[in-house]
């Protein structure tokens, strides 16, 4: 009994940290909408707090996840997959918006779970930024956003467990349908993730990108409604209609083309840190 309850309790504990950290980070992303709620004297400090909070949260979550990931197989897979992700990302920089890296994040998050997906998102951005020399204040925000994309894929529902196969022919047809359903689900999630990623990245940077005194500028004095409208228009113009749409299409096409084979390859590697630990105790 102790064998089974111990890991479960530690998972719940870290889940709280991960969930709480993500909520805090989301708040930091949305800092422009919180400025109005703060006393006027403190308003200047809000973006600074947001900018400090995101890297701090990354360190905190990385520390939380690091212990769980400390097995040879996980570390090796995390390493090579983030290299693949970084290579894909760098190869795509010249081709505007064709960010195929989401395909990898979504497929790996799906197979190895939300925590792995989150870390893979963090590391992919870290590695590509190191390699390309693009480290800056924007990097932590990108890391978080990509981490969420991977984690979200790990939280998607699974097909209800099928009854044990009776005939081999029938089970293989069922399996094919199941795979199609899974690919469709992941592609749909890819579209959502592509647009959500664009919105999130616009959100924190919007006040800096536009500056003051334009129609779509962030204005501290007015209500959230008007700021939201300004933001929506800014987002539509800068990314939603262009980059994000290209990214959504790339992701869907990528998942449809290589999804089945990549899922099979990842599943054949059988990463399952918890069951690995359990099996040697029993």
């Amino acid at each position: 009994m102790t064998v089974l309850t111990r890991p479960r309790r530690s998972i719940r504990w870290t889940s709280w940290i991960l969930g709480g950290g993500s909520v805090l980070a989301a708040a930091a992303f949305a800092w422009p909408f919180f400025v109005g709620a703060v006393p006027a004297d403190a308003q200047v400090a809000v973006p600074i707090v947001a900018f400090a909070l995101i890297p701090a949260l990354i360190v905190a979550l990385a520390l939380t996840l690091d212990r769980e990931m400390y097995t040879a197989k996980t570390v090796a897979l995390l390493g090579v997959l983030s290299a693949v992700g970084a290579a894909v990302r760098i190869a795509g920089t010249g081709v505007g918006g064709v960010e195929a890296v989401f395909v990898l994040l979504i497929l790996a998050g799906r197979v190895y779970g939300a925590r792995f997906g989150f870390l893979l998102g963090l590391l992919t951005i870290a590695v590509s930024s190191l390699l390309w020399g693009g480290f800056g204040p924007w990097t932590p925000f990108q890391m978080f956003a990509c981490g969420w994309v991977g984690a979200g894929a790990g939280l998607l529902p699974h097909w209800p467990k099928a009854s044990p196969p009776t005939e081999p022919a029938r089970s293989s047809t069922a399996q094919r349908w199941r795979l199609r359903w899974e690919i469709a689900l992941l592609a749909a999630y890819g579209v959502v993730a592509a647009y959500a990623f664009g919105l999130m990245m616009n959100l924190w940077f919007w006040p800096f990108a536009v500056g003051s005194s334009t129609g779509i500028s962030y204005t501290a004095g007015v209500g959230p409604g008007q700021n939201l409208a300004s933001f929506v228009l800014y987002s539509l113009v800068t990314s939603t209609l262009t980059w994000d749409t290209v990214r959504a299409i790339t992701t869907v096409v990528g998942i449809a083309l290589v999804g089945p084979a990549v899922l099979a390859a990842l599943r054949r590697a059988k990463l399952n840190p918890r069951s690995e630990k359990r099996s040697h105790r029993l």
Partner: protein, 687 residues
């Protein structure tokens, strides 16, 4: 920590300028460029939006001061961008991460980053190889590139994980080893579900001995080896029954990482298992993950390197090693903990003769001078005749422990197995050795001879291949007649593979003429009807999730090529039928169990047959096969040679490269010999 790279700075400067321009554009479009009293540049009509956007006005007047203000307001952020560009250009952040690997609270993540870093060269190499393979298959889909590269990456991750695991990565407890009995297997058995099993294992190995595990491919040499390293039970999900004790530790309950202090493992493909960037860190890895002080690690690394006489390699980067050097470094890395038991998996596979001798000598010394219990899985047994003390022979799911004297006659008298279910095998004597006999067996070939008797099927004219500065193939010319089965022989590095690839994908016009066509001028789709190559790494060509799907894709590609000439002919599964035929089955239905599998779950011989089927489906006039027998045992070799003979039904001539004399002797009608990029002797005809 510090160094100068200009690229990040340049990128940051471009980004900063772009940022300033973008902000000016925003102000112009969203009505913010009209501030100030300066001269009016342009007075655009103002547009007011409706609904929730009613506070927004588009366009409007533009003044010089307004534009200037916009640009000025963007400068702080642009300065931040340039500042970080400068930082990236000067600070080597990667080195900061490398320091954290193995230590501290972020050791898993920093180690992942180091691995990611070390993976890049391999990734580029992998992309390069798969692009060639994809051209050979006539594919251009994105999946045919990405999937094999991805599969290779996962394979690398697993090899790496296994190597890290056996070197004590993430170990939490330290178990002392007992020297007296390094290996004890008592009534043990091993199995992988229903697929494979090894029973009644009773083996005891002494310290200071060298034991070689021999057996057919797929008989389980590696699994037996890993039942001792613990990877079989704890990494590859195998099941162990009975008792296996390694230096006193119960293998069923002890993880590989916990025995890293006294069990060393040298994996099959050592390069895949390298976890560090420099030779020094690679050798010291097992100590560094145990948090041993860096000075002690350094001293120990030098000590081990001195023992193997590789001190000159210590400062090198890991990707600057030759195959032989890489093997020695891997052995050094396994020795750094002074193991009681050293396990070595196929150490000689990729090595030339000089490197083989070196590795054998080192392993012999470790056993007989340092007192290590050395266990080697290998099918090149000849090299170990002198130094082996005992042999473990795997036959029909049993292991026989033989002394050196017992094994000698047995190894010599192993008969050539004859696959009973192979109809083409029986045809060998009939069509053997003579072109006319073979032509009778291959109606397609007869026709082509009849129509153009004077012309050779293929002529290779003054073909040269240059790899950077070396001339891999130097001015090679020869002709192939219809009905030929040619063996291309020569030692490693003679240029055989380069020649075959240059024939299949010629770089220059008029160097390869097959059936009257200049192959260089042919399009991707039609080229394979003239010449098709089965490369050495057949896995590079496979990218579907079942064998059946792989065959269907090949058929589809075929129909595309054919519909251009003769119109579509859909329906019959050409490739699947060929695959079954090459394996010696009478009908596709007999191979149904294989068609349902993942291509990478097939045995090496079956996979070779699958790729041969894919390439033969296009009915190439000339089929090229590179090293078909590499890593195969006698039974699998018989399968492949039968498949090559079957292949002559669908092609007019076969040219295969091999360094295996026995294999080519029974099969080839002619032999070409290659040495240092040249055909060394005139064509010899066997008759």
């Amino acid at each position: 920590m510090l160094r100068l790279r200009l690229a990040p700075l340049r990128a940051a400067a471009v980004l900063a300028v772009g940022f300033v321009l973008l902000r000016v554009v925003y102000r112009v479009v969203f009505g913010g460029a009209g501030a100030g009293a300066g001269p009016l540049l342009l007075n655009l009509p103002q547009l007011r939006l409706d609904g929730p956007f009613s506070h927004i006005t588009l366009l409007g007047p533009i003044t010089l001061v307004g534009l200037g203000n916009a640009a000025l307001s963007a400068l702080p952020v642009a300065a931040v961008i340039v500042f970080f560009g400068l930082l990236n250009a000067v600070v080597n952040v990667q080195a900061l991460f490398a320091r954290g690997a193995g230590r501290g609270p972020l050791r898993a993540i920093s180690r992942s980053l180091v691995i990611a870093w070390a993976t890049f060269p391999a990734l580029l190499e992998s992309v390069r190889r798969v692009r060639v393979a994809r051209a050979l298959r006539g594919e251009r889909s994105i999946a045919s590139l990405l999937v094999p590269v991805f599969e290779q990456t996962i394979e690398r991750a697993l090899a790496l994980a296994a190597s890290m695991e056996t070197r004590g990565f993430a170990a939490v407890r330290v178990i002392p080893g007992v020297c007296e009995t390094p290996v004890l297997l008592a009534d043990a058995s091993l199995d992988f579900g229903a697929d494979w099993h090894l029973d009644e294992l009773n083996v005891t190995l002494e310290p200071g001995t060298l034991t070689v595990i021999v057996g057919a491919t797929g008989s389980g040499k590696t699994s037996l080896l890993h039942s001792m390293s613990g990877l079989f039970q704890h990494f590859y999900d195998g099941t162990q029954h009975g008792r296996i004790d390694i230096a006193g530790a119960d293998r069923a309950l002890t993880l590989p990482r916990d025995t890293a202090g006294f069990v060393g493992l040298v994996a099959q493909n050592v390069r895949l298992g390298f976890a560090a960037e420099s030779v020094h860190d690679e050798i010291g890895f097992a100590l560094a993950v145990r948090n041993v002080a860096p000075t002690i690690v350094h001293a120990r690394v030098l000590e081990v390197a001195a023992r193997l006489q590789i001190v000159h390699l210590v400062d090198r980067s890991i990707d600057q090693l030759s195959a032989g050097e890489a093997s020695l470094v891997a052995i050094a890395a396994a020795l750094v903990n002074s193991p009681i038991l050293l396990l070595v998996d196929e150490p000689l596979a990729d090595l030339d003769t000089a490197a083989r001798d070196r590795v054998c000598t080192v392993l012999g010394q470790l056993a007989h001078e340092a007192g290590v219990c050395v266990v080697i899985a290998e099918h090149n047994t000849r090299e170990f005749d002198v130094i082996a003390d005992a042999w473990l022979q795997i036959r029909r799911s049993r292991v026989h422990q033989l002394s050196s004297a017992e094994i000698q006659p047995k190894l010599v008298e192993i008969p050539v197995p004859k696959p009973a279910d192979s109809p083409s095998w029986g045809r060998i004597p009939a069509s053997f050795g003579s072109a006319s006999g073979r032509a009778a067996a291959a109606p397609g070939a007869t026709r082509s001879i009849a129509t153009m008797p004077a012309k050779p099927l293929a002529s290779i004219r003054r073909l040269s291949v240059r790899h950077r500065t070396d001339l891999a193939v130097d001015d090679v010319s020869f002709e192939v007649q219809a009905g030929d089965v040619i063996a291309l022989r020569g030692s490693n590095g003679a240029g055989k593979s380069s020649l075959l690839r240059a024939i299949a994908l010629p770089m220059a016009a008029d160097t390869v003429i097959i059936a009257g066509h200049d192959v260089h001028s042919l399009k991707r789709r039609t080229r394979r009807q003239s010449v098709a190559l089965v490369p050495e790494n057949v896995d590079d060509l496979l990218f579907a999730i079942t064998v059946a799907e792989e065959c269907r894709r090949a058929d589809r590609r075929l129909h595309l090529a054919q519909s251009a000439r003769t119109g579509p002919e859909h329906g019959e599964p050409v490739t699947a039928a060929l695959f079954a035929q090459l394996l010696g089955f009478d009908a596709i239905t007999d191979a149904a169990h294989l068609l349902e599998r993942h291509p990478r779950d097939l045995s090496t011989g079956e996979r070779l047959c699958l790729v041969m089927a894919i390439q033969l489906a296009a009915r190439p006039a000339l089929l090229l096969v590179d090293e078909p027998t590499r890593g195969l045992d006698l039974a699998a070799r018989a399968l492949v040679s039968a498949a090559l003979l079957t292949a002559t039904d669908r092609t007019s001539a076969v040219l295969f490269a091999t360094h295996d004399d026995d294999f080519s002797r029974g099969l080839a009608t002619r032999t070409l010999r290659m040495e240092a990029g040249r055909l060394s002797s005139p064509i010899e005809v066997l008759s």
